[in-house]
């Protein structure tokens, strides 16, 4: 059984302009000890998916349907009190902007200790030790002194390490990292990705890494789910996906990534057009209006996810399945 099994997740928002179908029937699973990438551009629903798993969306405006099974238990059926116990204890989360997710008026130590005291029934004398050990684990130099400091006294990279410490201090089995390195410089990004890898190796934590950066996907993940317009459009082992993408959107995205070793001409492959308005009902393939190969059939019939090769599924009428000998 998978650690996390998301089945046909739908998250819709009520807005003034109509119902925004931010996530429209997404299914995926995360196995123990693996890193899954969810990749896509702004508005594709990747962050809403993670917020739905954590049930952090405002319940009066957002409605989630489907199943989110964590060790077989559907998180959507839990009461708010039960859910509070899941957050932090069983699923940890790191957000993109460490400055706005840390409390500016509490010391870093107090915030880590609060998390431990709230979720773990350990003697209060041990809480401090546990917090200190966690900060050392995430590579905070001089951790004992840093515990007495406030978030504004730390650099962006250090703050993100504190966020990781907060997310992992209760040893959750699953860590959701939502664009954890997007706000960081490349040399610091390399440090944080290395840290996540080390922690996973030591503690066997499963990670969902949500990102728009295919470079990060390539460096840090085992399997990748590509999302477009609230739907999963392709899924494969990361190496396979990057080497032989089957969906035209994934192909376009990969071609558009600037790589070192350019020719200085300034030309990059581009995907024309923009993502569709998620408040309007969609017929046919969501990518059809930007797809160079789209046919009338594509515009009329939404493609289903089909197996194109072992472990490789894609939602495209035009991607022929690999013929197996």
């Amino acid at each position: 059984m998978s650690l996390l099994d998301v089945r046909n997740l739908q998250t819709h928002f009520r807005t003034r302009g109509g119902v925004n179908r931010a996530v429209e029937g997404v299914s995926f699973h995360v196995d123990a000890g693996e890193t899954l990438a969810i990749v896509g551009e702004s508005g594709c629903g990747k962050s809403v998916t993670s917020m739905s798993i954590m049930r952090l969306l405002p319940e009066n405006a957002a409605r989630s349907a489907g199943e989110i099974l964590l060790n077989g238990r559907n998180l959507l059926d839990l009461s708010e009190a039960q859910m509070r116990d899941v957050r932090g204890n069983e699923i940890g989360m790191i957000f993109q902007e460490p400055m706005t997710s840390l409390n500016p008026v509490l010391t870093v130590g107090a915030q880590v200790k609060e998390t431990v005291a709230l979720h773990q029934s350990i003697p209060s004398a041990d809480v401090h030790d546990r917090a200190l050990r966690m900060l050392e684990l995430v590579g905070i130099p001089d951790a004992a002194r840093r515990m007495t400091e406030y978030p504004h006294q730390l650099s962006g990279g250090m703050r993100q390490r504190i966020m990781i410490a907060l997310a992992l201090v209760c040893q959750p089995k699953l860590l959701i990292a939502d664009e954890p390195t997007t706000a960081l410089d490349v040399t610091i990004q390399a440090q944080i990705l290395e840290l996540l890898r080390d922690i996973q190796r030591e503690q066997g934590t499963s990670i969902i890494l949500i990102t728009h950066d295919l470079g990060v996907v390539a460096e840090a993940t085992d399997r990748t789910v590509v999302m477009y317009a609230g739907r999963k459009i392709e899924e494969a082992p990361t190496a396979t996906l990057l080497a032989a993408p089957r969906h035209p959107y994934t192909q376009g995205l990969l071609a558009a990534v600037p790589r070192l070793g350019g020719d200085g001409s300034g030309r990059l492959a581009e995907i024309p057009g923009q993502v569709p308005d998620m408040r309007k009902p969609m017929t046919g393939c969501a990518f059809a209006n930007r797809c160079a190969q789209a046919t009338d059939f594509c515009r009329a019939h939404a493609p289903a996810l089909e197996r194109k090769a072992p472990g490789h599924i894609a939602a495209c009428h035009l991607a022929e399945p690999e013929i197996l000998a």
Partner: protein, 324 residues
């Protein structure tokens, strides 16, 4: 031949922290002794991590703030001796955030027309020019009547570019102009900038932390670390054979998309030091894998290591000299 833009010994200090009686207690040296040229139609990229001073250099050139020391010259004429309208009509900026750099209460037509009106263009001329610009940046024809919020991030950045191009500048400073955009849209805007550069013969100062984008668009590159240029050279030289240990680490930290193309990664230890109290001597020595005791002494000067190629690291220049 005089280059289009010359920056000579540019330094910029900010005063931070004041005592009770208004006396300045600390200064941040955001930029120190930066010099470079940009020729007509050439693209120079300033790269480095946050806080390295690259945007401060851009702002000084744009005339948005004055340099503490040093000169900025356009065709040999200093910014200090040029009336501001004259300067701004030749040097324009495209900013990073297409959401906060456009006035939400103005129609796109008026946003693009504003620099023209400011520089005294007549109404009829302005109208014609705005139409021309909307076509030039490939916005839909009816864009002029709409407001910024009706556009996506990429479209807004096109509006920002149209506004910058309105007074027919010779130099456009792109300050992280594509950093906030999604991959597929980023490619559209980079292509647009490349086309415009070719069509209009623009010189670009491309300020970015994204080395892969820089590699696609630039002629020359200057790498900055904590307020100083540590390496400068042509794109082929600098990306092909980086010399300064910081440049090498920066290049090796760029994630590689293609499987089987992994490079050896140099993961730098430690953090960027605070510009309030930079390390003595070479500012990079606290994170440098090659640092020697001697690096704490003098600030290393930029030394020539080839045609148009300079590096500020005595350790590597000494060892390469040994090899040759």
């Amino acid at each position: 031949m005089t280059p289009l833009l010359s920056v000579r010994g540019l330094s910029k200090e900010y005063e931070v922290g004041r005592s009770l009686f208004g006396k300045t207690t600390k200064t941040v040296k955001a930029v120190q002794d930066v010099s470079f040229d940009i020729a007509k139609g050439e693209t120079l990229s300033l790269v480095g991590e946050s806080g390295c001073g690259k945007s401060t250099v851009g702002r000084a050139i744009a005339g948005l703030h004055a340099a503490t020391v040093g000169e900025v010259l356009l065709d040999g004429r200093s910014i200090a001796d040029t009336p501001s309208a004259g300067w701004h009509s030749r040097v324009q900026v495209v900013f990073q955030d297409p959401f906060s750099s456009l006035n939400p209460r103005m129609r796109v037509r008026d946003i693009i027309a504003e620099p023209l009106t400011n520089f005294g263009s007549t109404r009829a001329k302005t109208e014609a020019r705005v139409k021309e610009l909307i076509d030039l940046v490939r916005l839909p024809r009816d864009a002029g009547d709409r407001f910024p919020h009706e556009f996506s991030g990429g479209q807004r950045q096109r509006i920002g570019i149209a506004r910058a191009l309105a007074p027919k500048p010779e130099l456009v400073i792109c300050d992280e102009a594509v950093s906030a955009l999604d991959v597929s849209v980023k490619a559209q805007i980079v292509n647009l900038l490349a086309d415009l550069r070719a069509e209009l013969g623009l010189a670009l100062l491309f300020i970015s932390h994204d080395l892969a984008i820089v590699d696609h668009i630039t002629d020359r590159v200057a790498v900055m670390y904590l307020g100083r240029i540590v390496e400068i050279g042509t794109r082929d030289d600098l990306f092909g054979a980086p010399v300064h240990p910081y440049t090498r680490a920066l290049l090796s930290a760029v994630p590689v998309v293609d499987p089987g193309q992994r490079r050896d990664r140099i993961v730098l230890q430690g953090e960027l030091p605070s510009p309030l109290s930079p390390p003595s001597g070479c500012a990079f020595r606290t994170r440098c894998p090659l640092a020697e005791p001697g690096c704490a002494g003098n600030v290393p000067a930029l030394t020539d290591v080839g045609p148009g190629r300079q590096v500020a690291c005595p350790v590597v220049t000494r060892t390469t000299a040994d090899v040759n």
